[in-house]
Structures are given as C-alpha cells and as structure tokens.
Subunit: 223 residues, 2 copies
C-alpha cells in the first residue's frame, strides 16, 4: 500500500484543474466519487460494504487523512485497491491534490474510484476535486439539524447517504424532517437511508451507483 503526502496545490485555478481531471477520467470510463462527511459518520464502513456487495465492479479507494493509514488498511484487507493520502494538515482535498493522488495510484483498470475526503463537513464542500459525483454521508447520531448548520455541503452533493439507520431507535433523528431540510437546499439531491451494518437500504444505493457508472461510461451528458 502506498502512502503519499500532498500539500495544497500551487495552482489557483482549482475549477479548471477539476474540469480537466473530470474529462480525463471520463475518457477512460472511470467514475470518481468524492465522498464527504464529518469524522466518524461511517465513510470507510460504507465503502467496505459497497466493495463486498459489488464484486462485479472494479472499485478503488483513495483515503485522504491528515494522519494515519487505518482506513486504507481496512479497504486493502477487502482486496480492493487502496491508496492512503496524507494531506499535510490540510482540512480538505482540492483538484491538484486529487490529481497527484490519482497519478500516484496509477490505475487505469478501476471503474469506480472513491475519494474518501478528509472528515469535515465544511471545507471539502468548497473545493471541486474533479469527481464526477459528490456524495455525502450524515449519520443518525449526528442529528437531523445538520442541513441548517452546514448548508453548502448539502447544496454541493448529488447524493446524501443517511448512515447508521440501525441506530434510529436510540437517537431522536427524524428522517423525513432531515430529507425535507436537505431538499430545501438542494431539490435534486438523491437520498439513501442505509445501514452498512445490517445492509438495510444498500440495494437502492448500489443500484443508483451502477446506473450512474453506466451513464458515465456511455458518455452521455448526464452523469
């Protein structure tokens, strides 16, 4: 497993870099998904479940963290390709950092590439990484008021995964209220309540990912 260290990009033209990255990945039929959430909302657990469930799809994961390699080790133990990216203290990934990580991974085979962004509900939403899709996770224990406090993340995400639904009996989290608040910010957002532990709701999420991957490969205008 590789561990690389990437600092902030020198270029200021993040959006242009991101767009270029997206076109390059599209040409290779590789769909990159930028996965964002607070620390501890279950990004790695969700990815582990997807890797186990979707064995027919070639999946790779870029794990971005300030320190440690625990997440990449977990992914690699499942037999998927993983690379650990250390952000040198940075609280988010930008397009340049992502491009260097992709280069270090050197992988033209994988169809779905997940970028597990730094655990942070604020800063990652401000930077286009060049991913084809933005997916965020909000876990049940975090509370259904989060769209009110961190609106940009909900606005920028194509999909919201409400994770740890198996914990719903123990927390006062109103799923429909959360969906309503998220849709008020982003009417197009797709919402998937799931439990990666029990598997509840994973089928819908996986079907959506397959559909998006097929669309991406077909090269249609819509992702």
């Amino acid at each position: 497993m590789k561990i690389i260290k990437v600092g902030a990009s020198v270029t200021q033209s993040n959006d242009r870099d991101a767009e270029l990255q997206r076109l390059q990945l599209k040409a290779k039929g590789q769909l990159m998904i930028n996965l964002m959430s607070s620390p501890g909302s279950g990004k790695t657990t969700l990815l582990s479940r997807l890797i186990r469930d979707m064995k027919d799809v070639k999946i790779a994961v870029m794990e971005a963290d300030i320190e440690s390699a625990v997440d990449a080790e977990r992914i690699e133990a499942l037999g998927a390709k993983a690379i650990q990216v250390h952000t040198d203290g940075m609280c988010h990934m930008d397009a340049g950092m992502t491009a260097r990580s992709l280069q270090a991974m050197d992988d033209d085979e994988s169809e779905l590439i997940f970028l597990e962004n730094v655990g942070n509900l604020i800063c990652p939403a401000e930077y286009d990484t060049g991913a084809g899709l933005n997916m965020m996770i909000l876990s049940v224990p975090e509370g259904d008021d989060k769209p009110l406090k961190y609106p940009l993340m909900f606005e920028k995400s194509d999909a919201l995964v409400i994770s740890k639904t198996d914990a719903l009996p123990y927390f006062s989290f109103d799923v429909s209220r959360c969906c309503e608040r998220a849709r008020k910010l982003n009417p197009q957002i797709r919402i998937f309540p799931v439990s990666a532990k029990t598997g509840e709701g994973m089928g819908e999420l996986e079907a959506w990912l397959r559909e998006k991957l097929a669309g991406w490969k077909a090269g249609g205008k819509e992702v």
Copy 2:
C-alpha cells in the same frame, strides 16, 4: 438574542490577540472555555446539561455556526445568556472573531463563558481563541480511532469529554483504547466519559470545571 456576523480577523497576530484576550478575561475573573468537536457530537446538549446542573454558577454561551440560530435558541430557553455568532462561512473561530463576539455579548457578570466553536475536528485546533481552557468532545458513535486521525485537536485540548456513553452498547467503541490513544498525544489531558442524557459522569466533569474556575479566579499561575 443577538445574532452577529463575524468574518476572518484582519490581524495576522492571532496569538498575541489571544493572549491579550485571556489576560482581560482573567482580570475580570471570567473563565472562557473553547468547546470543540465534530458536528453532532453533542456540544449543545452537554452545555444544556451543565447549565441545568450548575445553577449556582453564572454561565454564558457564545454559539458559533456558519448558519442558523438553533443552538443559541436552545441555550436561551434554559435561561442562560446566549449569543449566536455567524462565521460568514469560516470553519473556525480565531482570537479576533472571539473578541468581537465577547464585545457584542457585553457581559461582565458571567463566570463561565463557553465558546461553542464551529463543528469541525480540524481547523479550530489551529487557532488560539483566547480561551483559558480548550475542551473537546468525541462522541461514542464517531469511533475510538479519532486520535489517530485528528491528533492536533487532542494535543491542544486540556480536557476530552467522551460523550454519548449511553450509546456504548450499540457501537464498538473501546473507552480505554481511546484514552490510551489520546494520552499518547497529550499525557496531561483530562478525560471525562459522560452521558448528558442519563447524567452518568457529569459529576466529575462539573467538579473539574468548578475547580478550574476557582483557580482562575484566584489568579494562580495554573488554570
């Protein structure tokens, strides 16, 4: 309830501003505590419990958020002084922002002033706010591996509150492993496992806060 908007401070000398702020608060016998954590780890719930439990101590709360006023409303409903601070998109509070918030609050009466920082386990750790103590929360659902991934926050905190211990039966969180990891980064850190819901562990935390407040007022070198 006031809602003020503060952007990044113009001054670059954050540490000097913070030190000045600390001295001014000390002269007034007011202990400010910078409370930091991920989104949804229970900062407002913990503060609500402290306000209910410590009625003999005058407590004020500055709620820093990117948007919304839900937290300040919750605190005000308990009869405590609260001010909502909007950070204009900023992912943390710095000393200048904190000074302007204190000025807007205009309160020489309160003995304990909590600064509920923006929900973020990364950026707030990088900025001295001028608080007398840094306190962080890690909630059980977030996982016991967080010291490995967000070391600076653990290094900078005088106290670590492990919250939502009532949820321990439902999550694989090893309290002693978490404590060990936190102490490896910061041997002096005080650790308080608590449930603000059931009250478990709150007594120890409250005793510590009273002790720190008394020390602060006595003006000793040690906080």
